[in-house]
Each structure stands twice: as structure tokens, then as C-alpha cells.
Assembly symmetry: C2
């Protein structure tokens, strides 16, 4: 853990330079705008520990798979969103000495992320080898209002006397990935040069052929003049402009860099240059202060919809805003070809590609804080990859249109290559089906089922019906060789969660098919032909539903995580030697597998998804049985436990989980934030408040609320977009209010009553749980 980030409601602040933790801070202060993003690398030269990273959404490279021993069915490539053009670089020479924070005396240092306005600040005073002191103030933003552009300002002040200054402003396409399986270079340089008003580079990814055109305009000013370019330096893939000046004591040199980065993913290659110039034409109508205002106002619009205010607990307030901020930096939902990488634009790990996290954790956040189109685009992403999922299943021996969505993907093809995950962590298929159900439940947009959803559901159901097998011994269907959400168990038989979600998929698909059969619109006849599931096949599905085996312990009256779970030594986590934790950093893999310890909600994930199928006592029994064995070593674990703890009225436990999930990165709970932020679990943080503390659910098309208040909090307030209405929910110790700040009436249910809240109406409820 690290606790040096200052608590502040709207700011993330680091008030001292800690070179040993620089990679952690580079992750924490990362910025982006959904189209591109960047770790908080320094503009100037830095010879200390750093992970350089700038990423472009959807620009990936299929890195050749690295395996120990090949297994049939492994993918050939692991597609990864790759480190791309670096536009921020500034080489600063002060009296001929390189400015490098690893080589100078640092008098003061602050890094500050203004989440309200979406601007990253950094300031420092340093003393150079010759005794010269300078003050630097830098600000940087990835424009939310023009997502193919970004800008920064870098102001240097001579503090101790006159100085000579040489500034080299770089635009560099000669970048590499730290994570390259065979030390391959992923980019080739296509073109580069100088234009009247700046420099440009053009690079193309190997194999995938994405072409990227980047243009940089630099302006360097002193109080009195704008400097001319002294020299232009050309090296392989890199252009740079050199400026020199003298600064009198106290004088400031202000450097501005503006970049436009456009790609063949979104435009015709022939037009990249022209588009770039157009972008600059618009951008250059504003000075840097005006750009900052524009950025602030774009962020203002986001906060107006998705902010959560917490009173009485600054750490909690900062944390939820940080989570919401990062989610909005990562995915804006404008482009259905994009998705949410587990680390967003903040690191190379997991390759910026899509996992089941999106469906299980992110969809609810976007559903409630953004237009339904955004969540819908996330569903469409999978719809468009259905053919690939069918192909993937067929590679593994499934037929008749069965689909297995990849564990990890960017273009629909499987990237992951551990057999126990790739081939066996198949519950992901269930989460993808559940997201369709969840979307329809929340939005009421049943048309989506007919336009897209049902095709996906049928293909997934076909997979499950083939993946189970009849056990003559049990006279039930079993599912052998799976890995559940708890990845500390591999290749188990009858993971309860997987069996349960498989059966649910079949049920829900049959239900949709029945509804479809009852529809008589002509428009649906094409779909009816497309998803024709014969009577025999439907009977098979019903037979599977009716005869699915669920491991169960009659003595404890609980479902078992998998066959044989009770053969383990059941020693609660609390009795573990703390020096052995996290176990994934201290124990060999076999020891972890043999142990009873649970990485993240597994049986309990099922109780989260399917809570309506179990009463609170049953939930309580399972929570009491499983949580004590859970080590929460996945970032996705605490949020689900927080929601269930809240449901069980364990408010303090829920609050503990809330802190853990919300400050996971800020406080580096898992000691791995240096690799990048845990973006997808941040949506889980949001769920912790809204579904956990506020008890929000959708029941029969109505918004259900049943808030509670953590002891430490005076209150909390959040907005929900629900079926065209915008609701402001304001929870205090003595009750809560629901305010409909839209013109659209909405059906609401609380613990005690159901009612319709008219447009602009307000409802007071006199007590919380």
C-alpha cells in the first residue's frame, strides 16, 4: 500500500517527488479522452524509473503468442493496444545542462490532477549542477471536446539569475512496447517532415496496417517575443524543433505543444493530413487558457450527469470521483468498435483488450450515467463479433452455430493462451448474455433483443447445451473442466456459478424465443428464420435446465463452489499469516490451487446476478460460508462483496469493501498499480454506492431504492438516468429525497411504497435502512 496521495474532494495531489514510486504515480495521474490517453510521463528528459506509454484506442498489434508448450486451440496472436506516438517530449538545456529530475536537486515538486476540469498539472523547483534554480509549471490535457487532439503548456522560470535556455520539442514515432513477446518493433515509419507551422510523423503498425498521422505545433514564447525555430532535427521516426533563448532572472519562457493524432481506423489514409490541418484550424482559434475552459466545460457536462457527492468523508469522496473520472477518460461510448480495456490507457498490461469485466462490471455504470446508446454500443461490440465467436467455438469442436466468446479480444478473435482460462473460463459467455438481459431490464428497450440480442443468446445457449454432458452416474447434466470467476481454482468440475449461469442463459433464451413466437410483425420474420431453434433442440435445453447438477452440501445448506470443495482444509483467511499475503505473491501456484482461498466472488457472483432467485437467508448463509475464505486478490472482488454485504445490512463491512475497491489504485492495495490502473473495477466502485449503499435495483420496470448510510458519512448524493428521466437521490441520516429533475415521470419503488414520480417532482422518504 501507498498512502501519499493527498485527500481532496476534486484533486489528486502528490506533493513530493518519489522516484522509487514514479511508475505508480505515472499510472495514477494518467489522462485520456476515450480516443487516446497517456501515462503521466514527464515532458522533459527523465533517466529514472519510468514506463513510457501513450495509447490510441483500437490501434493494436497482433503480437506473436508466447507459450511454454503449445496446446491445440491456442490462438496464434495476442492482440494488444500498443504504445504509440509520443508527442510530449521536451529536451530542456539550462545553461547547457540537461533538465532531468533524476539528476538535479529537487527543491519542491507537485503533481496534481484536477478531475473537475480534466487537466493534469505539475510544478517543481530544482537546482541544477551549476546552482541555477528554475521553476517549472506544466499543464496538460487530452481534449474531451476534440478527441483527436491534445495540448500542453510548459512554463520555465529562471529563479536564481539569468540563464540560457535550449528547448527541443519532439514528436516521436520511434517507440517500443515494454511488453513485446519477442522484442519485436510494432511500428514502421512511413513519413516524417516539417511543415510551415509544425512537424509531422506518419507511422504504420506492422501486420494490422493502421496508419497514424500526427502533427505537432510548438510555440515558445518569452514575455517579450515568440521564438523562431532555430533548427529542425530529423532522426528515424522522430522530428524535433530546437529553440534557444536567454531568460533574465524571474522571466518566464512558456512552451506550448498542440498535437493532432488521426488514424486510418477513422479516416481514409489520403485524408489524414487534411483532417489534421482542419483540426488545427479549429484548435488554433483558442489560446491555451481558452482550451482549458473548453475542457473544463466538457468535463462539467459529464459531472453533471455522473457525479456522486459524499459528505463527511473526503477520502471516500475523492475516491469515487477518481473512479468516475477514469471511467469517462477511458470510454465515451461514441464508437461501438471500441471497448474498455482493464487498464484503459494507463499501461500495457492486459493489452488494452476486452474481458468479461465490461459486461459484468461496466455496463451498469454506463446504463445509469449515460444515454442508453452508450451501453448499447458495448452490446453491439459483441454482436458484431458473433461470427468470430462461432468460429472460435468451432475451433474447439462445437458445432451448429454454438458461440464461445473469447476471454480476451480486440477484434473478436481469442488472444488469451492459458488453457485453463482460454478454454475453460467459459462463464464469460454467461456474462455476455446477462448483459443483454441487464440492458433490457434497465432500459426497457426490448427491441434490442429482436435487432441484435437474440442471435447472440441463441448462439451462446447452443454452446452451453453442448458443453454440458450427461452423467450416467448422477443422471444429471454436469459441466466438466471449467474455471470459474475464482481463478484460484482451475479445471474444476461443476463450478456452481458456471452451471447456474449456463442454465439461466438457456432459460432466458427460451423465454425470448417464446416471446418472439408470439410476435407477428413482418419485420421479425427474418429474425425468426435466423434464430430458428427446432422443437427438439428446445426440448434438449429444457432437459438441461431441469436436470442440471448443482454441487450442494446438505449439512451446511450451501451450494458448493465446485465438486470436492469440502475436501480442502477450510482455514479462514483471518487465520493466515499476514506475511503470506497476498498469496499470489507468496505462494506457488499449486499451493494456491489446493487451498480453499477464493480470489474473487464466485458462488457469490451468482448470488449477485441472480439475487431474485434466493431469499436473504440463503444469501446470508452463502456469504458467511464463502467470504471468510476470500482473499479479494482480484480488483473485481470487493465491489460485489460490498453490494451483498450492504444487502445483508452489514454496513461497516460494506464500507470497508467500498474503501478497498474505491481506493484500490489511489492507495495501491494490490501493489500493482504501477502497471496501470484497474479501470473496469472502477465501475464496480460506482455499483458499490448505487447498488450497495443506495440499494438501487430495477424490478419489473420500476426503479427500486432502499438506501443505507455508512456511519462515517453525513450523506451522499448521486444522479441516475432511468428511462428518459434524470433523478437526483440525496441520502442523509434521517432519510432521503428523490428528485426528478427531468420532465418525464418515472415509476419508483422504495422499501415501503411504490409510486410514480412526475417530471420535476420530489419525494421525501423519512428513513434509511
Amino acid at each position: 500500500m501507498k498512502t501519499y496521495i493527498k485527500h481532496n474532494p476534486w484533486q489528486i495531489i502528490e506533493d513530493k517527488f518519489r522516484p522509487e514510486h514514479n511508475e505508480f504515480s505515472e499510472s495514477i495521474f494518467a489522462i485520456g479522452n476515450g480516443r487516446m490517453g497517456q501515462r503521466a510521463n514527464f515532458e522533459e528528459e527523465f533517466s529514472g524509473k519510468t514506463l513510457q506509454g501513450s495509447y490510441l484506442a483500437g490501434i493494436y498489434y497482433p503480437d506473436k503468442t508466447r507459450v511454454g508448450w503449445w496446446k491445440n486451440g491456442y490462438p496464434e496472436y495476442f492482440a494488444k493496444v500498443i504504445n504509440s506516438i509520443d508527442w510530449i517530449g521536451l529536451d530542456i538545456l539550462v545553461n547547457g545542462q540537461v533538465l532531468d529530475l533524476h539528476q538535479v536537486v529537487i527543491k519542491s515538486f507537485e503533481r496534481r490532477l484536477d478531475m473537475q476540469r480534466g487537466i493534469l498539472y505539475r510544478s517543481f523547483i530544482v537546482e541544477m549542477a551549476d546552482g541555477t534554480q528554475i521553476n517549472v509549471e506544466a499543464s496538460r490535457m487530452y481534449h474531451l471536446f476534440a478527441s483527436e487532439t491534445a495540448s500542453l503548456q510548459y512554463r520555465i522560470q529562471a529563479l536564481s539569475g539569468d540563464i540560457t535556455l535550449e528547448v527541443t520539442s519532439r514528436l516521436n514515432a520511434e517507440v517500443i512496447n515494454r511488453d513485446s513477446n519477442y522484442d519485436e518493433k510494432f511500428w514502421e515509419n512511413i513519413d516524417q517532415g516539417k511543415e510551415e507551422d509544425g512537424i509531422f510523423v506518419v507511422a504504420r503498425t506492422k501486420k494490422t496496417g493502421f496508419e497514424v498521422y500526427a502533427k505537432l505545433e510548438t510555440s515558445v514564447k518569452t514575455a517579450t517575443s515568440r521564438l523562431e525555430v532555430q533548427d529542425t532535427i530529423t532522426s528515424a521516426g522522430c522530428m524535433a524543433e530546437v529553440y534557444t533563448t536567454n531568460l533574465a532572472k524571474s522571466e518566464i519562457c512558456s512552451i506550448e505543444k498542440r498535437v493532432a493524432i488521426v488514424t486510418s481506423q477513422n479516416h481514409a489514409v489520403a485524408q489524414l493530413k487534411e483532417i489534421t490541418n482542419n483540426l488545427f484550424r479549429t484548435l488554433n482559434q483558442l489560446d491555451f487558457e481558452q482550451l482549458k475552459e473548453k475542457q473544463a466545460s466538457a468535463w462539467h457536462a459529464i459531472w453533471a450527469e455522473s457525479d456522486i457527492e459524499i459528505s463527511g468523508d473526503v477520502a471516500a469522496q475523492q475516491a469515487i470521483r477518481y473512479n468516475i473520472f477514469q471511467l469517462n477518460q477511458t470510454y465515451t461510448g461514441e464508437d461501438e468498435r471500441l471497448n474498455i480495456g482493464p487498464k484503459g490507457f494507463t499501461g500495457e498490461k492486459y493489452g488494452g483488450v476486452t474481458y468479461w469485466d465490461t459486461e459484468a462490471y461496466c455496463i451498469p455504470f454506463y446504463l445509469a450515467t449515460q444515454s442508453p446508446k452508450i451501453a448499447r454500443n458495448l452490446l453491439i461490440y459483441r454482436y458484431q463479433q458473433l461470427d468470430k465467436a462461432i468460429e472460435n467455438a468451432s475451433k474447439l469442436g462445437f458445432d451448429k452455430g454454438a458461440a464461445l466468446y473469447p476471454m480476451v479480444t480486440i477484434n473478436g478473435e481469442e488472444c488469451h493462451n492459458e488453457w485453463e482460462i482460454t478454454f475453460e473460463e467459459i462463464h464469460r459467455n454467461g456474462a455476455i448474455a446477462f448483459a443483454i438481459y441487464n440492458y433490457v431490464r434497465y432500459t426497457g428497450d426490448e427491441d434490442y433483443i429482436w435487432s441484435h440480442g437474440l442471435e447472440v443468446l441463441v448462439a451462446i445457449s447452443r454452446f452451453w447445451a453442448q458443453r454440458v454432458n450427461w452423467s450416467a452416474e448422477r443422471e444429471q447434466y454436469v459441466m466438466l473442466g471449467v474455471t470459474g470467476p475464482n481463478e484460484y481454482e482451475n479445471n474444476v468440475n461443476n463450478n456452481w456459478y458456471t452451471n447456474r449461469i449456463a442454465s439461466w442463459c438457456l432459460e432466458y433464451t427460451l423465454e425470448c424465443l417464446e416471446k418472439l413466437a408470439a410476435q407477428h410483425s413482418d419485420e421479425l420474420s427474418l429474425l425468426k428464420a435466423k434464430v430458428a431453434v427446432g422443437a427438439e433442440e428446445q426440448q434438449k435445453w429444457q432437459h438441461v435446465i431441469a436436470h442440471m447438477y448443482y454441487p450442494f452440501d446438505a449439512k451446511r445448506n450451501v451450494y458448493l463452489q465446485q465438486d470436492g470443495f469440502l475436501d480442502k482444509e477450510l482455514i479462514p483467511v483471518a487465520q493466515l499469516d499476514p506475511s503470506q499475503r497476498p498469496i499470489n505473491q507468496h505462494w506457488s501456484w499449486d499451493r494456491i490451487l489446493r487451498s480453499c482461498y477464493i480470489k474473487q466472488a464466485d458462488v457469490l457472483q451468482g448470488f449477485y446476478f441472480f439475487e431474485d432467485k434466493f431469499d436473504v437467508d440463503t444469501l446470508g448463509r452463502h456469504y458467511e460460508f464463502y467470504e471468510p475464505f476470500t482473499v479479494h486478490e482480484s480488483s473485481l472482488s470487493p465491489c460485489v462483496h460490498a453490494i451483498l454485504a450492504a444487502k445483508l445490512n452489514k454496513v461497516e463491512k460494506a464500507y470497508e469493501f467500498y474503501l478497498r475497491t474505491s481506493r484500490l489504485d489511489l492507495d495501491d492495495y494490490n501493489n500493482d498499480t504501477e502497471d496501470g490502473l484497474h479501470i473496469t473495477s472502477m465501475a464496480g466502485t460506482w455499483m458499490t454506492i448505487v447498488e450497495g449503499f443506495a440499494g438501487m435495483r430495477i424490478k419489473d420496470g420500476k426503479l427500486y431504492l432502499n438506501p443505507m448510510l455508512p456511519k462515517k458519512w453525513e450523506g451522499y448524493k448521486f444522479r441516475i438516468l432511468f428511462r428518459g428521466a434524470t433523478l437526483l437521490i440525496d441520502v442523509h441520516a434521517d432519510g432521503y429525497t428523490i428528485e426528478n429533475i427531468s420532465d418525464r415521470a418515472v415509476h419508483i419503488q422504495t422499501a415501503s411504497e411504490a409510486f410514480s414520480l412526475t417530471g420535476q417532482g420530489k419525494k421525501q422518504v423519512a428513513q434509511v435502512r
Copy 2:
């Protein structure tokens, strides 16, 4: 399968060049002498498909491990015996045209391995682009009588008219491995040059620092003269000598190459040169014909001890000799630092390192065909690696001197890096203990237990006692997360074989400890202190033995391979679509894992090791249950099944398995012989005849025999070394004879009687099974 190898009792013959199968033939015709060996690469240039390979026993490189995702406990390196100095190379220019079998018209071609004499022959007639025809006759041997030397003769005859000939004789240390995880070069060049009588190269392995000194002497003669070196060519790591001559039609140019290769593994670096020159001094006292005679006589001595003669079945005769031949080429037992790589000196796969194959399959062969010292050296190999095995276990979280021997090793450190094998295929520990028991049972050399064996047994038992855990649910000990010999099941619970051999290890160790306690020699006091196992620990072991859980099906009255085996769809292999076989080449890994199909004997391996614990009916029941689900896709499978089938009097089934195991490589049953031969399973072939058909066992210190005769055979004859006596067993349809051709009396038991056979005595038994 490939069936082009001609059937012949003493020769392996390929009568036509099949470039598409060249890598297969390179494996089949590989030669070696226990110290070094080589694939049957061509001397002359060859631009077609080829896997170049020359290997030196024990000269390895720790190649950086390649994994998809790192797991705690994985080894950093995979040590592999590497491709080394190539001494055979000859560039032949005929009228200025390169001789390259991929570029000329081949008029005739024969490759022939004389197993009786240990000499590889090749002859061919080709037509060059200009119409010139030449005849080439080559012979090559790795000297059994001087294991650091080898020689070849290459005779070129001008068939169609006069020719000019240029011959370049190379000695090349600039070699690479095809199997290099990161395309690293493993060798560095240290020195090279010309001496009066030849050329030399010195190379050193990176990291491990093995230095290798190789000297080559070439002589080129025509009928009339010995040619002088025209030119010496030096390039990085490679020396070559050039000779030129004219040949009249029918004239022969005879090239001889002799090499000595010595290494710092066996000699001081400073002496390598001198030792090489001494080797040449001895070698050069003989001409090539004399060398061939010497080689033949060394092989004669081996055959005199270990030949098996089969009458009436040439395919079977050739096959058993091929297996015995390859085993003797791979391991001579002189050096206890060496062991038997699964592919010997015939390929890169599996890296030439040691698996449990040695203990489970090879020890019986060496016990019965060589001096006990040889098998003992194989045991000592593991004894010397005990500290590393304890360290290995401690890395995985075991303590108090528990040892886990590596799955794959060359120097005692684990090389393998698949978690399901490395951490879980722990039954290997059992095989290593069983080999000690087996050695003592065969030789009666109980002293080995006190000098070495018991320390190993205690450390292994300590591992088992910690690896099981008490299941409160079952009130028995269970063993979770293992992989049995059947590697088509991973991470299963309670693999019966593993539980059984673990319990046996504890039993046998306790038995030995009890015997030790009863010994009062002073010499043993040190050992008593070393292996002190306290009363409490012994009680724990006894408790484990008494309460070990064995999965069992009461209905079928069979032990189950593992928990949950009966949940599988139990469809016999016979009902599988033949186009789907071998399943490991057609099915995805998850499908294989979920299926009931068994790669190699698993429960039945236990019935093989512990046959005395079960009656024949019980064996029969288990054989009938498991064999129908067995795909025999490991080379180690058919032999064990053959032995059990023979025991069950299923003679035709045993014969079928015999052919499969014995001709596995010759007929390329598994379609993978191009990677190298399956050396360790060849010992299994020998077991098939001696333990299977002849029913040989050791019971209470007596040699037990109970032969049967496959229908197709007229008879078979083999020798056994047993407790100082040499026995010749000659089996025919109407009975068999046992002849003691030594002077030492030996106790023998047959199906009907027990007797002592005096030195030079002979016993006739009037019937076979």
C-alpha cells in the same frame, strides 16, 4: 505411419530417397556411443528438409524459460542438451557443380544401419546438371571403443567420364538450435586454427561455460595418391580444408574424416588439446577397415549380453534389436552424471534431459542386460541431486527436508514450466522411490539402501506426508490438484495411482527405517543420525497409510482413476471416428481433458508396479475397464499394457501392443519420429518381451519365469544377468529351456516348480503358458 523401412533382422534399410520424410529418416538412422551422437544428416550440402543435430552428453545450455503467463514457482531456465559441433560436413563440387541431393537427379539411393556392427552406410548414384553421374558410398560410426571419437569414410566414384572434384572438409562450431526460446546462440567461439595434421575449433557454451575442443583430421586419397590440402578456410567458428583432384571414369576418391571431441566436463581445459592428440595417436594406428572391425567387436560384446532373438517374425526381430541398439547408443552407464534423455542424441525435443521414464521404464532393461553398476549409476544420479530436490520442494512451500524431484532436469534443477506438470505431476517422486526398491529387489544389493537409498526415500516420504491433506468431510487423507501419468487429465483430485504410490513410498520407507533400526553396525550410525525420523513423524506416516482415500466404484468394483471419473461420457475408443485420431492432433485441449480418454497407463501403471497387491481377477477387471478408453498416445503406453495383457493371457493383444511399442519409431506410429526417437519407451519394448511374454519377475530373491509364445513366433531367446549369473532363456512352442551359462548358481521359479540352477546347468520345461 510410414512403412518404408525394409524388414531385416540386423539391418535398417531405406532403399529410396524420400525428401519429404528426410527428417524422419535422419532420426531413424541416428548413431551414437553414449558419450555423443548424431542425427543421420548428410555429409554433403543438402538444401532440402533437414534437422541438423549433433549432441554431446551432458553439454547443456539453460535456455531462458518461455511462458505465456508467469506463475510463482516456475523455473527460470529450461536446460537443454544442445546441438553442438558439426564434424561431418563435406562440400563436394563435381565439375564445379555442388553435390546436393535436393538439386540433382537421384538414380539410386540406399541408407542402411548395420545394428550388429554399429555402422551407418549410405550409397547413391546421382546425375548432376551437366549429365555427369557419380556414385557415392559413405560409412560412418561413433566409436564405442573410444567414445570421444568418431570417423567416416566417403567414397566418390566418377561413373560417366572424367571429372574434376573439389572437396571441402569442414569442422563447424557455428551451429544453432532450432529449439531456442529466444533465438539465442548458445555457443561462443573461443579458438580455431590449423595444425600440422588437421584443423581444430574450440567453443564454449554461454552461461554454463562447458568448453569443447574438437579436432578433425581429413585424408583424401585417389587410387594413386594422397592429396595435399590446397587451401584452408577460416570463418567465424568454422575451419575447412580444400582438396582438388581429377578423377578418371570409374576412379574413386576416398575421403576419410576422423574427429576427436573432448570437453571440460571430463577433462581440465588446459589438457584438452593434449588429450585430443593422444586420442588421435591411438586412433591413427588403425585404418578405416580396422576401425570398423574394432567397432563391430565392441558391438558384438553388447549383443552377446543383450540380444533377443525372435524366430519366425522378421519385423518383430528387427524391431527389438533396433530398440536395444538405440538404448545402448544412448546410455552406457559409465558416468553417473549422465542419464537417458527421452530422445537420446536424435533430436532437440525434450532437450535431452531426464524424466521419470528413466526410473519407470529404463532401469529394468539395464538391470537385466548390464552389470548392476549401470542401473546403480542411474540411481546415484538422483541421489546426487537430492539437495536440489529438497530445494525444489521448499520453493513450493514444503519444509523439513521434503524432496520433490523435478519433472525434467539435467542438473537437478527443475526445467519444466507448465503448472499442471511441474507442480502437479508429482507421481514422478514415487517412480524414483520405486526404482530403488526395484534395484534392490533385482540385485539383492541392500547396502545401497544404507549408502544412498534411504536418504532419498525419507525425503520423498516427507513430501508425500505434507502433500496430502486431511479431509474433514471424508475423514481420510486426500491428495488434491495432481496430474497422473495420464496427462490427458490435469489438476485432478485423488488420482488413484498417485495416492497409491505415495502410500507405498511411506510403507517402504518405514520398512527400511525399521530394518535400519535393527542394524547395529557402527558404519550405519552416521546414516541413523542423518535420516532420523521421529516417532511422531512415523506415526503421521502410518496414519496417512491407514487413512488414505482411494476413489472406488462399488458397482463396477474398480478403483477410479480420479474423483469424478464416472461423470464423463464413457465411450470406448473403438467407437471414435478414426479420422479424429490421434486425438492430441485433432482435438482442442479442453475437449481432451473433458473426455474419458487415457493417454497412457495410469491406474494400470499402479497395477504394473504393485501387481503383488492384487489378484489376477482384480487386474482383469481394471484392465477391462480402462484399456478400452486408452488411446496409447504416449510412447510409454503400449509396453505396460502388453505386459498386463500377457499376464492376463491375452497373447494376441499383447502381441499387438508389442508391435506398436517396438516399431513405434520404425513405422512412425505417432507421426512424430522426425523430432527424434522415443528412446525411453524402447526399454519398455524390451520389458514387453522379457516381463510380458516370458513373464519374468523377481519374487523373494528368485527369478520367476512363466513364458508364453505369440502365435506368429516360432520362438524367442534372450539373456538375463541375474545376481552374478548369466541365463539364456530359449522359448519354443513346446516348452522352454533355461541355461545357466555362468558358473554361478541361481534360484529360479517357474509356474510349476522352484529350483536352483547350478553354474553351466540347463533346465528344460515342457510347456509354455
